[in-house]
């Protein structure tokens, strides 16, 4: 082997630098019709390096079985594509040359060139040839024990093979390579842990050797990639749980090694929180969100409006920072909303009211849960660097991650959610961000709805629903249905339901206060107003399904089938509940009611496929279609008597 200082060696180092430059920098400027020009040039240089290395070896009388590998490029396409199996980690640590022996170093250098040739072929879409080079690299290394001289190459080569096999839909093979890389890393860090030689170091002159710090950084980054590739492999295998863990560790490592851009990292963590919250894992979700908020703060202050007007970069930065922070706020809203809704699901009885027995039972089970939480928190994968740990933890303390069990607990979560609603709306204003703004309003409304569930005071509960109406009604009316038809339908339906809910609450309240007497005229008026308002919005929803000429659709689209029939059913019910003292008025209302029940029945009769979606409603509608005429006739019978 030529000494590290010889001219020949220097020439090799220059060639290598050149090849790297061609691959990384020059290739970006390659024209569309010759996209791999620089990479092909780099390939030639790498081959020359390979030959020179071999000739040094020959001079020293070493035999080399993989000698033809430099030439495999052209014949590569014909190679059979068979999934190889990666060697065992155990062997890699116990057998073969010492990494720092001359033979070991030679193998590592040749292996590195094979590695670069492999990557080069893969990049230029010659996968089979690339695979062969990478496998040669593995073979060369296979004769060495893992040590600080070659461990980096061990990992890199396996990362590349992982990508390669995943691209061929051979996910399990990819998994094999990547998992071996993972265990090699772990074992190396446990047994040695010194900063390993980077592959670039093999071909750099003494004065250009990397610092220990830089070596560690590059090595850790390679392993971060292993984690990231494994996350994708598990995702593709459908193992979402494991995929999430690996995404989580990727994020954790980026933070720990200070290899991240704050806003991007924060947004990724916030997105991961959404995975956790839909899984009901609120502790992890909260941790991701708290970290997201803290790390997004590292991206700096939002430039002032004045500064934004001065320069376009500032203006763009302002836009970006505000948008991303608002998006993180929206992830927080979902956290609060989901946790409230999940606990509501657990605590409600068959008609959606708070089940106090269940509540007691849950509260008793709570102490255990709290201890559990403490334990889990210690073992969980925590984010943070020395200076962010504390701020993340203190943000976490602001909201609980256990399901709320009573009004006080629910209210605390509600308030946090509402805080983020305000924050998100600052950026996502109605004017400019209609759909986003409304989605936030809908979440705000849902927060109120969930909170109302815990509220025992019916009057206050009613006011919470009133707040929902107040935030949605004007918006729903303002929107142009040509552009926002779908969103308006959602709002109409929700408004109808909310008025309905208020109506029920008013009645319960009135009955409670005055059990002996009948309702006073004031209450009746209020009740009827709420009832009509609810019917009005259901009707608006139904009208929105009509053709531009106002014709009822003969066939209801799948996504509106149930809502449309349910709206009919509920309008029917609402008309029969309107309080009216005059019998003719009563008859009129009941006629309308009957009309709507009939629609449900007739529609299902002519569209049997609809039956399954509204079974209960249909059954009751049939009953009512049979029974209501009786009631109507009874009232009618009274009319002449009164006259």
């Amino acid at each position: 082997m030529a000494s590290v200082s010889s001219d020949e060696w220097r020439a090799i180092c220059d060639k290598f630098t050149n090849a790297q430059n061609l691959t990384v920098v020059e290739s970006l400027n390659d024209p569309d019709n010759d996209p791999f020009r620089s990479k092909y040039k780099a390939r030639e240089l790498l081959r020359e390096i390979y030959c020179s290395l071999k000739s040094f070896e020959a001079g020293e009388g070493e035999e080399e079985s993989g000698g033809e590998t430099g030439e495999t490029g052209e014949s590569g396409e014909q190679l059979p594509v068979e999934a190889p199996v990666d060697g065992q980690t155990e062997e890699a640590f116990s057998q073969g040359f010492c990494g720092d022996s001359p033979a070991g170093l030679r193998a590592a250098k040749l292996g590195a060139v094979e590695y670069y040739l492999g990557v080069n072929h893969v990049d230029t879409e010659e996968l089979s040839a690339g695979q062969e080079h990478l496998m040669n690299s593995m073979k060369l290394l296979g004769r060495c024990r893992v040590s600080s001289e070659n461990v980096s190459l061990f990992i890199h080569a396996r990362n590349q093979l992982g990508i390669l096999w995943a691209g061929r839909d051979e996910t399990e093979t990819a998994q094999g390579f990547l998992e071996t890389a993972e265990s090699i890393y772990q074992r190396y860090m446990k047994e040695d842990g010194s900063p390993p030689t980077d592959m670039a170091d093999y071909f750099s002159t003494e004065e250009n050797q990397l610092t220990h710090q830089e070596r560690t950084k590059r090595f850790e980054l390679a392993y971060t990639h292993t984690m990231y590739y494994l996350a994708q492999v598990y995702k593709n295998l459908g193992e979402t749980e494991r995929a999430a863990i690996y995404c989580h560790s990727t994020l954790q490592r980026q933070l720990k090694l200070n290899q991240f851009s704050p806003m991007e990292w924060a947004l990724n963590a916030a997105t991961l929180s959404q995975y956790y919250i839909t899984k009901g894992r609120y502790m992890e979700g909260r941790h991701c969100l708290s970290a997201a908020t803290v790390i997004s703060g590292l991206a700096g202050e939002v430039p002032s409006e004045a500064a934004a007007q001065e320069s376009e970069t500032e203006s763009e930065r302002r836009e970006q920072l505000r948008q991303k922070r608002a998006e993180i706020a929206r992830c927080w809203i979902k956290y609060c909303l989901n946790i409230l809704q999940d606990s509501k699901k657990l605590l409600e009885d068959s008609i959606g009211e708070l089940d106090t027995d269940r509540q007691e039972e849950m509260k008793r089970g709570r102490r255990l849960e709290e201890e559990e939480e403490e334990k889990e928190r210690k073992s969980a994968m925590l984010f943070g660097s020395e200076d962010t740990f504390d701020s993340i933890a203190s943000l976490e303390e602001k909201v609980r991650c256990l399901l709320p069990m009573d009004f006080t607990e629910a209210r605390a979560i509600f308030l946090v959610g509402q805080h983020y609603v305000t924050q998100a709306k600052e950026y996502f204003q109605m004017d400019g961000y209609v759909t986003d703004h409304i989605e936030i309003l809908q979440d705000h409304s849902s927060l109120f709805r969930s909170l109302a569930f815990y509220e025992e005071d019916l009057d206050r509960r009613c006011k919470m629903h009133k707040r929902r109406v107040d935030m949605m009604e004007p918006v729903c009316m303002e929107l142009n249905s040509k552009y926002y038809l779908m969103i308006r339908r959602q709002m109409m339906f929700e408004l109808a339901e909310t008025y309905n809910e208020m109506m029920d609450l008013k009645l319960t309240l009135a009955n409670r206060q005055d059990e002996t007497e009948s309702l006073d005229s004031h209450t009746i008026k209020k009740f009827n107003n709420l009832c009509s308002a609810s019917a009005k919005y259901f009707q608006m929803f139904l009208d929105s399904l009509c053709s531009p000429e106002g014709k009822q659709p003969e066939h209801l689209e799948e996504e509106v089938l149930r809502p449309a029939l349910v709206a009919r059913f509920r309008v029917a019910r609402l008309y029969s509940r309107l309080i009216c003292t005059s019998p003719p008025g009563q008859v009129e209302n009941l006629d309308k009611s009957l009309e709507h029940y009939k629609y449900v029945v007739d529609y299902c009769d002519s569209h049997p496929e609809a039956v399954a979606t509204v079974e209960t409603e249909l059954e009751l509608s049939r009953e009512m279609v049979g029974l209501l005429p009786l009631k109507i006739n009874r009232i009618k019978a009274k009319i002449p008597a009164n006259n």
Binding site: I163, I328, K536, K592, M624, P629, L630
Partner: protein
């Protein structure tokens, strides 16, 4: 009628010279609506089948039976979309596929008889139909815009002056729009062709300057088509505006070696190499988890401009078609398969706005009780007979119009006191001690600066609405000149534009836009307020409104031109006629200033 899903077509082209040179084999077969692709590497594997609304076989020559020519593709897709545009729908045609897949042939085609693509045929057809209009009260106008979306930036391709990147926004009344995007008036297909040509040049020039590849950018060409009808009785104009968007979606290009520019829509087992794509992986993971029926999470947009674009065309009241261009060659198998998969998924795209209904368990229980009550009543009073009579004869079925009456009544009840439920509530709310919980979130009054900014935006919009056709054409002309100058400086040549322009249109005036509660009125009506008096009411008025609470003459707008050339509009309500401005009932005449944001006037 939204919710109609996207129409999807695929089209396979002949081999190109490169493919012929490499002795490519055809891996695509079509039968009826089904497209079939065989894996050249695993020929023994079963071929993959996809079915679409249309599968166009344009691989061979026109002589061969089953060959789909340009005319046929237009007849099937373009014409239908044009008809929807005349009905007032927004329509959109997406073209997708690998570069060289034949996208531009399908969309633009060649300037030879029988070779024109969808766009030229559609424009030709549009102007032919409008040109044949003999109705003096019906007026058409056509404007176009052309923009490019690249790396989350929007660029105006028709106005070289706006080098800035534009912002996509949504307005509550005017819908989604691109701020400051120029809309140029056109009078015939040659105008459109020239503009497209100029835009394509701008696109190419920019791409070259910035070392971008156009194949990674999306381009959106929009034709805004306005049908204006003058009512002879009232002298008022109503407008029906529809947008025809032609979207060239970036192909599923080879991502660069780092994978960082992975704009590919490709699915599959590929691993993203660069950590910059971590966000995509996590979003995909969260999306896999989320429940499609009832979305309970928020996944931050990664591609917000494209999302906006799709939202506009898939989320509202619009009709959408998608054409995927396919290469037939074995060497492009992977890309073609991913294009097919993408098209297959496009079939499923529907509006994702789902109605989340509350559980109605309580209602059901109540109703069951009522059913029981009525039943027992029935038997206890021995009214079986009565019931039978009811079923058999008497109680006349509701008149056929009852549904409409019901709608009216339902609206009537609510309208009588449109503030009624809130009014009823307000009483009880006002005398209760303020609830801290509720007060946390009171809307903050907007600051002066914000108000000024909103005002500016609104004014810009109103100015645009008020622009007369002449002004639009003048603007178009001046932008054209600028564009030509700038393009000329860049060394790009421009064809002489010889079209004569001059279409009559009413003078720009202040106007009202209706905000109908009724979603059926999916059109935006414009009522112009002319100089002098404009009366609003039920009878003998300039603006006729109907409704229980609209008086014969309800209120009057007075429009005056000041010396400064500004227009001042005063609104005078008549006694007993409830008129609201921005939610406040007014008793006396009020000067309406544009300063007050978009005015919300309620009669």
């Amino acid at each position: 009628m939204a919710g109609a899903s996207v129409k999807v077509a695929v089209r396979v082209r002949p081999f190109n010279s490169r493919e012929t040179g490499r002795n490519a084999k055809c891996v695509i077969q079509m039968q009826g609506n089904t497209t079939c692709i065989t894996n050249p590497k695993q020929p023994k594997d079963a071929a993959k089948n996809f079915s679409f609304d249309y599968s166009y076989w344009s691989h061979t020559t026109a002589e061969e039976p089953g060959f789909a020519c340009q005319r046929q593709v237009y007849k099937d897709i373009g014409e239908e979309m044009l008809l929807h545009a005349f009905e007032g729908y927004n329509v959109c045609i997406f073209a997708y596929g690998q570069t060289g897949g034949g996208k531009s042939y399908t969309m633009m085609g060649r300037q030879e008889p029988g070779q024109e693509g969808i766009i030229p045929q559609l424009c030709e057809d549009l102007f032919q139909r409008t040109g044949g209009n003999a109705d003096p009260d019906l007026n058409y106008s056509v404007e176009v815009s052309y923009m490019e979306i690249y790396c989350e930036r929007v660029r105006d391709l028709l106005n070289p002056k706006s080098s800035l990147t534009l912002r996509v926004r949504e307005h509550p009344i005017l819908g989604p729009y691109v701020e400051d995007l120029s809309k140029l008036a056109v009078t015939g297909f040659p105008d459109i062709r020239d503009l497209m040509d100029a835009g394509n040049k701008a696109r190419t020039v920019a791409a070259t300057n910035m070392n971008e590849t156009s194949s990674r950018s999306h381009a959106v060409f929009t034709i805004v088509f306005t049908q204006r009808r003058r009512d002879q009785m009232t002298g008022l104009d109503t407008e029906k505006v529809s947008k025809i968007s032609l979207v060239d979606l970036a192909g599923s290009e080879r991502a660069d070696s780092s994978g960082a520019k992975g704009t590919r829509l490709k699915e599959g087992a590929n691993i993203n190499k660069s950590l910059t794509t971590l966000g995509k992986v996590i979003s995909a993971l969260a999306e896999m988890q989320s429940n499609k029926k009832r979305r309970s999470d928020f996944i931050p947009y990664r591609d917000s401009v494209l999302t906006w674009l799709l939202k506009e065309n898939l989320g509202g009241n619009s009709r959408t078609a998608m054409i995927a261009a396919l290469s037939p060659a074995d060497i492009n198998y992977e890309e073609t398969l991913s294009t097919l998969r993408y098209a297959d998924r496009a079939k499923q795209i529907r509006c994702n706005a789902i109605i989340n209904e509350d559980p109605n368990a309580r209602l059901i229980r109540e109703l069951k009780d009522e059913v029981e009550r009525l039943r027992s009543l029935l038997f206890s009073q021995g009214l079986q007979e009565l019931l039978q009579n009811t079923m058999n004869n008497s109680s006349p079925p509701a008149p056929p119009s009852s549904l409409q009456q019901l709608a009216l009544t339902a609206n009537g009840i609510a309208e009588k006191d449109s503030s009624a439920p809130s009014g009823a509530e307000a009483e009880s709310a006002s005398d209760d001690s303020p609830n801290e919980l509720m007060d946390d979130d009171e809307e903050e009054p907007i600051s002066k600066e914000e108000a000024a900014e909103r005002l500016l935006e609104t004014e810009k919009m109103i100015a645009e609405l008020n622009e007369t056709w002449e002004e639009k054409l003048r603007k178009t002309e001046s932008i054209r000149l600028e564009r030509e100058t700038i393009l000329a400086e860049m060394g790009v040549s421009i064809k002489e534009d010889g079209g004569t322009l001059g279409v009559f249109s009413p003078k720009g005036t202040p106007h009202l836009v209706n905000l109908n509660e009724d979603p059926l009125m999916s059109e935006c009506l414009l009522y112009y307020i002319k100089e002098g008096f404009t009366r609003v009411g039920q009878q003998d008025v300039d603006i006729k409104l109907s409704g229980d609470f609209i008086k014969e003459i309800h209120c009057v707008f007075v429009s005056e031109n000041t010396e400064q050339g500004a227009v001042v509009v005063t609104l005078e309500p008549l006694i007993g006629a409830e008129t609201y401005v921005n939610g406040k009932q007014i008793e006396d005449a009020v000067v309406l200033k544009q300063v007050e944001d978009t005015l919300n006037i309620l009669f």
